[in-house]
Subunit: 372 residues, 3 copies
């Protein structure tokens, strides 16, 4: 008898039928981005080193015709269980999807938020640097979701999630920042509505979402992203627009930029906006050139209720990618990530912030290594 | 040549025979209990959220006809290696079992303590709330064990284990609590003796144990549990009696209840007792009703050497469970966990403790997902 | 459509061909050394307990004919991501090897340093106690490596690595120790050159390396090891010589021995030297006797620029090993690790250090358990 188990294993001598189908349908994957990078700050070299930028172990697949399982675990993130959802932060996915019928499926567990935009839809190993909003967000949350495949080309999704993995106190600090004004919700929630569309035989794809995060009784974050991707022969062009309006500064860029002694504008009424453009050109079956450029705007409301711009962050990432194998997904890359931070007169006067540039030159290897 | 390896892999083109038998006999399992829960304290709503209550990855199976391996790892527990047994706390099992012959088997490694009682024998994902003694105990310890299968229906087990994963100093604190009286053993140990019985063709099963923990020269914990389970057609009824007599308050409920300023009774001579009853009724092949009820008594010896009751904790868990698939082990559940804490006059007078009730309403999904 | 994925899984009913070859060529292994040990200090018994000395989960194999993947993860080490290479410390390997042709292969990722010496080349579960230099070193580093198989019997390797997983500040402390003298390099690096030779049909094997670690502008560590192994019928004899010359005390034994108040010799100009001898005699197909003995010398330069010996550490490990299965790699062991620490007059006078002996008697089980 087996302690704390639900089935008893007995010794059999051949691969049973159900195991054969599991083997066919479940993948074990090591998602890896490894490279060497050199950093510059305002043109001055800061250092160089090897880096495991991404290492995410993944198990995913159909365990029956109706049930899909996905687990993904980051080895570059903290292993502490989180106070709200009880599972370690580095777990991106621990979720079960039930395919109700051809139209409907339901997912429960910890999962990626079903956000719009092409940028977030890509495998993280294919991103060299995320734009501000995604970089700062909690992208993996516990909850439930439903997907409705309306037609072959259009599906709609709805998620209801915890809005964070930690308590508000852990995220925003205890008294310095929140002040006496914010009443934390007893049942904070996030709702995400999503549309995936496809037009002209997949030549144009759209991925849009609108989401609301409820943090306190009168505190909401409205975040939406509108992504579209055009696939033309050897060219692929993607453009995302993202907008986040935050009663409490959840994204936190301004909160982190200004000193905690300057509390006038802290935390309340921030606005983040982002344009993201990525062009990829497959010049040869094994060679690809790409240019990704994005701008992130950060604003905060002043006492008169007007949004005042704090920072424009311009980023550009030219890259050359080489696929050494025709039949296996591995790529070598060289890229440069240039970032230009421009502060407004308002930010310079009020928060004493000043402009700066950073650069990073990297080369390395990317693979979603399917090892079983 | 392969660095730090014992065998060399070479490229072969078909599944070798030994691999086929491994595939047949080894399971990879994601044990998962995920849900949404709402909490009440003395009738006042505290909050609601999604929760990964349990997520334990497991590998288990026969690697040869004689060798069984089991590994299970909690993703909801701390990942720090422990000071005594050197492996991270979240690892439940990392153990090897050698089947000597039809009668005897021997296990070495970190493993579940072979405790009696039906409650602890169930897969943790099937438990909504553990009774006090199990909830507080170190249930996974390093050591060795032997099992003797006396007849088809009766087996006996004996384990010799480290009594904890951390040092006594880490568990009991350094000077405030232990005082100068307790001399920590240089070779602390735990012994567990276990009997699993089956009667009337499995209609009645028993699972009893007696254990001794030796912590210091004169400090022992005597813990025993007597579980029995009756299976009658669509009904399953289980009853456990548990009793723990502790020279040092290892279970720690009283220690944690009373202020550390009140040191009179601290730590010494506690007694925990528990009655646990669980009734399950399969009203339909895919529907099950269950009611689990238990009471936990906590007592401590006073200066005259008499046990004085501190707290009675009454708990009840009605649940409805639905199995959506006939051929795959997934269940949906709704349950309510009600707990009523009643303190004695002695506890109110001496420790200033007062009564309280808590409630938790949950719904969610449970599966020991066999993904490979 | 699958979020953050690169391929789409669809339901198929038989094991596809590519999966069959993965199954044949990829191993999942639980490297385990578990046992019971008793410790003595200067002849006085300190305590006894069960211990998971080693537990390293490993995935390794050929994912295509050209690509080899290796991942190994320690469950007895800290799970915090490291500041320099970004991946958790407990990951030994997360590396991809590309076999360019019969002669050349290239590896990138986190990997074992390609050090000489038989001791470090063995699977860690087969080592009862490492000699000082290896015990103290960062043995798993991020970087790239190339191997050239010159002939059937001789190969040469070159690695370029980060010299550590943490920053110099984290390793050496911030101000007390380093002083104002050491300028940390912006691009610290380590280079390792390695030769593996085989003579007389494998009867004699050599494994030599020379490495340079560059930590600061004028701060280097030169570490070299020369290992040789003689295989004669039932006897196997291995001898390693290791020498490490360190401008900064990276190995850190002297740094840790002396009080941080004595800063005169701290950190600068240490020298570690080691002779390691291991003799194994297979007295019966299932029984092996072994004796490992090594001496570690620690020296530091005084103000006149002369090396002064601080400590000689003599270690000896007799062991008896039994292989219960003829066809499966499991061994039972009993061993004794005796260590004799002898300080020089210089060390006693200058640092107030005094001699000591330790002993550890252990028995247990070792297996590189190939479970899939």
């Amino acid at each position: 008898q087996l302690k704390q188990a639900d089935t008893v294993s007995t010794y059999k001598s051949i691969i049973p039928v159900e195991r054969q189908s599991l083997l066919s349908n479940v993948d074990l994957i090591a998602n890896m981005q490894f490279g060497h990078s050199s950093d510059w700050d305002d043109g001055s070299w800061q250092g160089s080193k090897f880096n495991m930028n991404q290492f995410r172990m993944e198990i995913r697949g159909w365990v029956t015709e109706k049930l899909y399982f996905r687990f993904r675990h980051r080895y570059t993130s903290s292993f502490e269980p989180q106070s709200v959802d009880n599972i370690i932060k580095g777990v991106d996915y621990a979720a079960l999807t039930f395919k109700v019928n051809e139209k409907w499926s339901i997912t429960a567990g910890k999962m990626a938020t079903d956000w719009g935009g092409i940028e977030f839809d890509l495998n993280p190993i294919d991103i060299y640097t995320y734009s501000d909003i995604i970089e700062q967000a909690d992208n993996y949350l516990a909850g439930v979701g439903a997907t409705y495949q309306a037609t072959k080309d259009h599906s709609f999704g709805l998620q209801l999630l915890n809005p964070r993995t930690q308590t508000a106190e852990e995220i925003y600090g205890e008294d310095v920042i929140i002040g006496g004004d914010i009443e934390t919700a007893k049942a904070p929630w996030a709702g995400v509505f999503n549309w995936r569309g496809s037009f002209f035989d997949g030549k144009l794809n759209t991925l849009w979402h609108y989401s609301v995060f409820n943090e306190g009784d009168d505190d909401f974050q409205n975040y939406m992203a509108f992504g579209q991707q055009l696939n033309l022969n050897k060219w692929s062009i993607a453009y995302d627009y993202k907008l986040s309006l935050e009663d409490v500064d959840r994204t936190g860029i301004i909160r982190n930029l200004i000193s905690t002694n300057d509390q006038t504008y802290v935390l309340r009424n921030t606005r983040y906006e982002s344009h993201w453009l990525s062009v990829q050109h497959r010049i040869h079956p094994q060679w690809q050139l790409s240019l990704t450029a994005f701008v992130d705007f950060s604003s905060v409301k002043n006492e008169m209720g007007d949004y005042k711009k704090v920072r424009n962050a311009y980023s550009y990432i030219p890259a050359i990618e080489y696929y050494p194998f025709k039949d296996y997904n591995v790529k070598l890359f060289v890229n440069y990530v240039g970032r230009v931070f421009r502060y407004t007169d308002f930010a310079e006067d009020t928060f004493n912030l000043s402009n700066g540039d950073t650069g990073r030159l990297s080369f390395g290897i990317i693979t979603p290594l399917n090892f079983l």
